[in-house]
Subunit: 314 residues, 3 copies
């Protein structure tokens, strides 16, 4: 850190934040360093800055979202940007306009940043090819959710002071999860050992090629983990045939005190939210302030998004 | 007033504004005094202040609302706060997240104020136990709608110069009305004589214990009233069996010139809106600028909400 | 232009912007001159001004809209106004409140500007009679959409340096189109020759009384045109009986390279959006940067709306 303070951080290598896959390790460090500064600001009495005053940020959400959209909206407003949030299900898409036409329309209004969430994998990449401003991917289909992985990394670093060498278990519906995908890339890059735990029908094929360990037995997968990262069971993305029942899922893949015992005694519990209490996680564990850092994830999420908006806004 | 000017007003006794029931008389006076200052500001050419600059206000509306949500949004913006309005029917609640999880998520983003409207009585109290910031109740089920009662009181004071000793008739669907409940508490506290007028099946049991007079005959209830406060017939909260027809309701409990004659000749008409014209109120009376102060209620509503946001924001 | 620079521009003759029909030619020139200044601002790094700081702008949209609502929202924010956007389908209209009661409620909150879009022709006029602030019509039924016509005029002037003497073809669903109506008024006023092209059942009766030429054959109507203005096929406003099929429509009234050949070789293509690609316009023509100025229309739309908000805000 002494060295990074002397050397001015390398400028971000990307124009857009589309996925962790596109980032270099110095990009990641730059974002996390910047984010740390905003943690304190967000706790202070005056949370308003002029950093992005005069800039226009458009939040383009094709899927409903409470936490991510709120997080980006507050991040932009606290930086002083003009923020316009568009819930696209309520608008001209009804008239049959395509993503591309919507993008080009908004682009012509000269935004500086577009934050997009879309149900299709690759939607943010497509958008980035059609607009002049920076695009921040807030989740595209099953592909990536880079700011989630970045805030998860920041949460781990704040608590464990490092990521390198930690054993991190990611458990649940890996197949449909952009959160899992972005976290696998990022945690690997930062030197963690990643255990992937899922029932066979929710485990992507050839997941090992990403350099992770694969488990279908949760107890084995959680063995000696420093971090237990639970995923949301994406009921809305699955046909019912995947799982015989929520109850059975909870028995085998829900995080319970019993299963958590296999992880390290100081293991931390993470969840990107929103939680299905009693399905993928025991409700008391979710609220256990000694083990769960779920609220901290949300808190640091605003800081990470402020950093991303600041860095990627030209 | 000379005395209150010398003595610095006592600080508000509450952290949250959950209901009139929790307020002391000096709390109420503090809010109304502060609100008076904002009446003038809202009529001026430059309505923007920096009083809440750097603060974050979240409007969390689980029920649709035009006037209350707009009123709080404009109030916050004119005070310089960053305001984020969330219509929660369009968001993660669809994914099965509970009120508490939503609250804790938003809380982690360090808002300074959460304004909540919710269909369940007690929702704002529950929220206030889970968050660090101040909670303002913008209506919870049948329980309370404190800013409505405060703006009603301010409207009466502006016109009648006092509340003490006035006879005030509240007429309509008392059973389902949070507006009635908050007004009964506040008007009693401020020394008015309150007449409650409703058909038997829309009259709460034991309403007399709140120190009000009870009437099922509107003409008797309005006798010599200084203020006639009509309530909205809450069609959406009632099963159709309560009333044989809107027409019958209008005949017995709709405010008509005929019935208004029983009140004092200078009686003022109030309504919290939105009105069902021709059901609970004659459309010409609603618009009679010599008798109706319905528009003034909306106007002073913004001022009262500005006062509440300022006072309750720490 | 030298003269207009010396003479201080005449103040706007109207309180509201309800339709092109109400504007004088000097009103139009004043708006377009003002708009030109904002084109540059919108391309600059700092797009924020304090021109409307302290003012309240309410966007009251009864019909969903991406581009128009966004355009007005960004315009207001960049001018420094407090902007509140209301999608009225999500709010108290569900409770049965009328347009007038909504208007009077909002009016009591002392906005400086209300921007309204409504499905009924004349809604903005009705609103303007009930409120104290300025009303900007963002589209009312089939009647007018004045800012669209103004931005179209500005786009033509930017490219062709004039409007007078140009031959302009407007083609498509004239019957249901407020865009056509406003453009006919404005282009006539500015001295263009206007050709109206539509199938018989989408052509209003007696359209000639507006001083336009009427064609049912697109090739004849486009002959030697400088500007080809395509309209959106308003599927949502039509019963299916008007047209035998989209395919047939495209054959006779869709803009194709083939038909465009009848216009001048340097003819520009315009469309108010959102486009039905492959129905009223060939998708490649829509994107042809040498011929299509569709994106420029959107871009100049923000500038025109900034000018209108500034000029009409008292």
């Amino acid at each position: 850190m002494a060295i990074t303070k002397k050397l001015k951080p390398i400028k971000i290598s990307q124009k857009h934040l589309l996925g962790i896959q596109d980032l270099s390790i110095s990009d990641v460090k730059l974002i996390l360093q910047e984010a740390k500064k905003f943690i304190k600001l967000n706790k202070s009495r005056n949370k308003k800055t002029n950093i992005l005053r005069g800039k226009t940020q458009i939040n383009l959400f094709f899927e409903p979202s409470t936490r991510t959209q709120s997080s980006f909206e507050l991040a932009g407003k606290r930086l002083g940007a003009d923020v316009m949030s568009m819930n696209i299900t309520n608008s001209a898409i009804k008239k049959g306009e395509t993503l591309i036409d919507t993008a080009m329309t908004l682009n012509a209004m000269h935004p500086d940043l577009i934050v997009i969430r879309h149900q299709d994998s690759g939607a943010s990449n497509l958008l980035s090819q059609k607009v002049n401003c920076s695009v921040i991917n807030a989740g595209d289909g099953r592909r990536e959710h880079p700011t989630q992985a970045l805030l998860d990394a920041l949460t781990i670093i704040e608590r464990k002071k490092k990521i390198e060498g930690l054993r991190i278990g990611i458990c649940g519906d890996i197949l449909h999860s952009r959160v899992a995908r972005s976290n696998i890339y990022l945690l690997n890059m930062l030197g963690a050992e990643v255990n992937i735990i899922a029932p066979t029908n929710l485990m992507p094929e050839n997941i090992e090629r990403f350099g992770v360990n694969k488990f279908s037995d949760m107890k084995k997968g959680l063995k000696d983990c420093d971090i237990v990262m639970m995923l949301r069971l994406q009921n809305e993305r699955m046909s019912s045939s995947f799982l015989s029942s929520n109850r059975e899922y909870y028995e085998y893949y829900g995080l319970t005190p019993d299963k958590l015992n296999y992880a390290k005694s100081d293991a931390l519990i993470m969840h990107p939210g929103p939680m299905n209490r009693g399905i993928e996680i025991d409700t008391n564990l979710a609220d256990d302030i000694n083990k769960s850092v779920i609220k901290e994830q949300v808190e640091l999420g605003v800081a990470v998004r402020m950093a991303c908006l600041k860095i990627f806004c030209k």
